[in-house]
Symmetry: C2
Amino acid sequence: MNTPTFNIAAVERDTGLSKDVLRMWERRYGFPVPGRDSNGERCYPADQVERLRLIKRLMDMGHRPGKLIATPQEELTALSPRRSKPEVQEASENRDELEELLTLIKQHDAAAYQQAMQQRLARQGLQRFVQDTIAPLTHRVGEYWEDGSFEVFEEHLYTELTKRLLRQAISTLPGGPRAPRVLLTSVPEELHVLGLLMVEALLALEGAECIPLGTQMPLLEIGRAAQAHQADIVALSFSGAFPQRQIAGLLQQLRMILPATTALWAGGSGVARVARSDDAELISTLDDTLATLAAWRLQHS
Amino acid sequence: MNTPTFNIAAVERDTGLSKDVLRMWERRYGFPVPGRDSNGERCYPADQVERLRLIKRLMDMGHRPGKLIATPQEELTALSPRRSKPEVQEASENRDELEELLTLIKQHDAAAYQQAMQQRLARQGLQRFVQDTIAPLTHRVGEYWEDGSFEVFEEHLYTELTKRLLRQAISTLPGGPRAPRVLLTSVPEELHVLGLLMVEALLALEGAECIPLGTQMPLLEIGRAAQAHQADIVALSFSGAFPQRQIAGLLQQLRMILPATTALWAGGSGVARVARSDDAELISTLDDTLATLAAWRLQHS
DNA sequence: CGTTCAATTTGTCCTAGACAATTATCGCGT
DNA sequence: ACGCGATAATTGTCTAGGACAAATTGAACG
């Protein structure tokens, strides 16, 4: 394995830090300090890219970049989650079972994981499977990812396999015209789809008609789609990684685009800290989803 | 529906044109000409965003931006595909059936589409279903999208429903340890997953063990994943929309990261015009996939 | 008619400054 | 001691134009 160097676009791709931020850090903090090629363009060595990715991960946990960059490399161990989580422990039996499932992922044993999950699904039924297995499991994966126990590719494997399970389960639900019609998608830049699938499963179980459009729909297209499908509700998902500050503005813009009769729901861990407004219903937990659906039905009966 | 304005970041999100390009076009061509807010920052009105998206779509079809921007709005009709395609017509019966399937999508009738596809899958078997139904259908969707017959959200609906069908079909295949072990993924910025799923279906049918990691894996992570899963082959997918010029460099970098014993395959319509090299096997058609697999087996027997 | 070379087009990168939004810190009143 | 508001530090994104290389087109020539 040689040591390739990365240009600034490659570093942006691999770290998620924008070119502007990379140049700004270099100017302000003196890190990173890439070499220059014959054209005077930045060449980042692999070890600096690695450090940048670590810093990004710690930032996503709530640390400040200024501190992180000043810290020497022993911050490698300073990755204890900063957000103090009260960590309401569930019934330990269930917890242990979930840990076992994640152990299978850590061992990269896709087949065993899928089989174990299928069994759980059959035992619990779809609703409890979503609420008691997939949701806490995904949350746990997020924690493991934050404290560095999960590699990126392990998280990807978990996501991919779990997506398949959920989609398969959803496809077995009865079809036919139902109400309300819910359009499920996310805005550009937001590509986490697991939350959408969980919501879809719950709504479909409750008799709603879900129109899954995948992720990354431009705002104007969401408006068109809502009209074409005569959607009663547009449901968006924002992951915790989505820049908080943009959410309120996005919802406001979308509210202006959508007909007044179309409800706008926004869910996912990204909306937890967003201020309430008249633009959209904010849904912070999976239970809220069902409550909000019930409220909608009451209002439209 | 009011007329919201978009800041430059929102336009980048919704059009896929980078901030640099938006500013450059304004400087060079005099379009777009956004208003300015109280901070002197650009505010793009909705109609200009709309025009930019149209221009972007025509560019993806092979037109040059300079010409497009100079053209007045009647280019709306000038969207006949520029790449002259010989269009080898298939047996018209099959063609008509495919058109019917797409008509269901155009009518936004998800349930009918899924049912029709399930029937086809049962009738054709998975391999022929992939090669004779999904592949040409996806190609056709691409053409419809290019000539403006398909809206973005219709293409999304097609993709989402088809993904589900494929994943479901794959999940019914027998499990267990098989060979070779193929790691399937794509690089960051590349999020088209249908091609990967088609390849996965074909390889799984041939007895390969597929490890699906979804899309958007950073290069260094692909290396780690290949090692952790002891992959024999790393297969990447590049869609036609992926910037051609970056592909060769990416493959070269990845080749340096991977152990020499791990094969590197690159497929998808994006690699069609990439020059051959020793870094990776280029796979331009689905048939090539099976041929390349056979060649690998011959070499490792 | 094909091929090579030059001209044009086009995207990305560069520097460096400004400002607004967020977060931290301090001081005050209860 | 603790909550709250005001100031201060931090940090990301925007703006401006200049430069250059990769890709494409067009022209000249064999």
